[in-house]
Amino acid sequence: MRKALLISFFLHVFVFFFVMMSVPDNLFPKDKVQTIAIKLVAAKDVKKTTEQKPQKKVKTQQSAAPKEAPKPKKKPQPKKPKKKAPTVVKDVPKKSQKPKKTIQAAEKEQKKEPEKVAEKQPDPRPAKLDKTEDKKNLVQDNSKDAVPVEDPEDFMKALSFIEDLKAEQSAMFEGEETEKTTINVAEQAELAVLKKHIERNWYKTPGTKFIKPLMLKLKLNRDGTLSSMEVVESSGSVSLDNSLKRAVRKAAPLPIPSDKYDTFKEIELYWNG
């Protein structure tokens, strides 16, 4: 009897973990790996790449579409006035309260987006200011991320540009396993801010002999403070490794958007001479 109970327990545990590990994409679309390749390009160049390769737009659209499939009807929502929200409730009766919040959140974000980038550059520690809001966002996280906030056309344009960069980058780092998914314009801008912020704090001796690439992996807490830091690949010079570590400590807390903690909680810093 006891034995059977034990076996049953283990089987349950096993099945539970099996489900957790092998079908997470369908159950938790949010947990998808996000690798964001970032490269700063002059504004005019950006336009060129997007204009010259219109066929890429279609590609991106196809790849992005299935991800947003679970909540297809929300797309047009943000544009509609608030009053129409109840009609959506019928479609999703169990989550009757959530759609409203989503709209509000979306509107919030719409307002925030253009400001964020401008605000952040002068202020090295904006993440702290958002602390109170942070907790609310925690609850909403799932629904919120799926809501497209920009004009769809611009969004796709931006994506096709990122697609190009990704192709470039994957050529650079062949054999790497991390799955590449698309990111939105806002995240890209936030990452650029982050990059600048760390670079500004990194005093690197100019003109030293380059030995090999350096990779540092950071884990962050929700407020942008450092939870852990490890050298994944040493540059071959302890001094150089230390200088980047010092930069990160000096830069902390890092200005990560409080509502996108899951995207930014782990960051790889890469230096290639």
């Binding site: 996000q34 991390t178 005093y203 001796t205 790889e268």
Partner: protein, 441 residues
């Protein structure tokens, strides 16, 4: 049974963490801050006034070494927030140093033993802290005769420099050069030597004979130079610590531009011996005194310099029409041209780091110091004036010292290999033809 559950849970958690392992965004850093590193050098503390004075002087030497390297921004002691008193009672308070943006902090202590005796000794210990990691990253102590306190300060400068930049230091080194002095109406040339910062200046010859082209042995404190002691040019070898001098070369014809091999056992020189006044490159074994001819060309071949691995020699030749740089194997084989392009190229010197060759370029009446990589792919101009000449490398291959003539006066200048941080090296007399020593042991 409990144990098995534990093991299973452990296994499961490992699996989950493995599953999440790739969830990281990557940032490619491209544009780090190239400003000099803000560094705090706290005066060495001591019990007595004498100790504190020496500690203060040593701090000045270290601070000026680091500042002059161009890689450090040594913070003014007036800006230090933590007082000596506070440091004594509560140790280093990292927060106070982070507030003034110090990336590294050096503190130290000095004890003078046997003060008042004929031979007092200084016991110096120091620590280098990383205020952001909140721990010490370097701790050392030195004991030396008090009169050598400058030497100890240079050693500590090198320790700090190496720890923070990852490159070898160059502060514990000397520069030998030809000093020009007016004696009455006559201009005389002396062989003089000083610390790399201009301290401990002394002259080794009295100026009664013409001296030229001093060069350091890359391992020992030995200098080879040319002297016209009896009216003929001869090569002399001078041992700096003992002051012993010997003639190494007494050959027919002009012998000029000597330079040591990396192991210090050979010299490469230019001789006109036996081929109708045409300068050719030779190597000379210092033990067996055997000569070996390396170049065979009717053009002028001169100014040879070894690569730090001893496998190649760069030299100057006009065999292609105008003076340019050529590289050959150490045995004289496989000669190939290194530099093309505008102007005439002279006086190559291979960097001790091996990655660059410095040379003088003359173009449209102006002289500049340039560097080129050993493959000849990329040339970079570092300086320009009406007469820049005689480049020589610091022992870590980071800084070049050269002579610049302005009007009637020639002075020594230093420049970083990135082309920044050009500085005058102050000397009591006019100075030319510098040669940088290896690090002192």
């Amino acid at each position: 049974m409990f144990k098995t559950i534990q093991i299973f849970a452990l296994f499961a958690s490992v699996m989950i963490s493995a599953f999440n392992a790739n969830a990281a965004v990557r940032i490619n850093l491209t544009d780090p801050n190239a400003d000099p590193l803000p560094t705090a050098i706290v005066p060495f503390d001591g019990e007595t006034e004498d100790e504190q004075n020496v500690g203060m002087q040593m701090r000045e030497v270290i601070a000026s070494n680091l500042q002059n390297s161009g890689l450090f921004n040594v913070l003014d002691p007036k800006a230090h927030l933590q007082s000596r008193q506070s440091m004594r009672t509560s140790g280093i308070l990292f927060n106070e140093w982070r507030l003034i943006n110090a990336q590294a902090v050096m503190t130290g202590h000095i004890v003078i033993l046997g003060m008042g005796t004929a031979n007092p000794k200084a016991q110096v210990e120091f620590k280098l802290y990383d205020p952001y990691a909140e721990r010490d990253i370097l701790a050392k102590s030195y004991t030396a005769d008090l009169r050598f306190w400058r030497h100890v300060a240079h050693r500590i400068s090198d320790d700090i420099y190496t720890n923070l930049t990852g490159e070898g230091g160059y502060f514990t080194s000397r520069i030998v050069h030809i000093a020009e002095e007016m004696q009455g109406t006559k201009k005389v040339k002396k062989l003089c030597v000083m610390d790399q910062d201009g301290g401990n200046y002394q002259c080794l010859t009295d100026g009664s004979h013409l001296v030229l082209t001093p060069r350091f042995n890359p391992n020992l404190q030995k200098i080879v130079y040319m002297s016209y002691a009896n009216g003929f040019p001869r090569l002399y070898l001078l041992d700096l610590p003992t002051g012993k001098q010997e003639i190494v070369g007494d050959f027919e014809g002009l012998n000029s531009s000597p330079r040591f091999s990396p192991d210090g056992k050979k010299l490469v020189i230019t001789l006109t011996k036996g081929h109708a006044g045409n300068p050719e490159v030779y190597s000379l074994d210092l033990e067996t005194k055997k000569l070996k001819r390396l170049t065979f060309h009717r053009g002028i071949d001169t100014s040879p310099s070894f690569s730090p691995d001893g496998k190649k020699i760069v030299f100057n030749s006009n065999r292609g029409g105008k003076p340019a740089l050529y590289v050959m194997d150490a045995d004289g084989n496989r000669v190939r041209r290194l530099t093309y392009g505008q102007g005439r190229h002279y006086a190559p010197v291979w960097s001790p780091r091996g990655d660059l060759i410095a040379f003088v370029k003359e173009y449209r009446g102006k002289f500049s110091i340039n560097v080129v990589d050993p493959e000849g792919e990329e040339t970079r101009q570092l300086t320009e004036s009406f007469l820049d000449e005689s480049p020589t490398w610091s022992p870590n291959g980071r800084v070049i010292v050269f002579a610049r003539q302005i009007g009637d006066s020639t002075k020594l200048y230093t420049i970083d290999l990135t082309g920044y941080n050009e500085r005058v090296l102050k000397t009591p007399m006019d100075a030319s033809d510098p040669a940088w020593s290896p690090l002192l042991k």
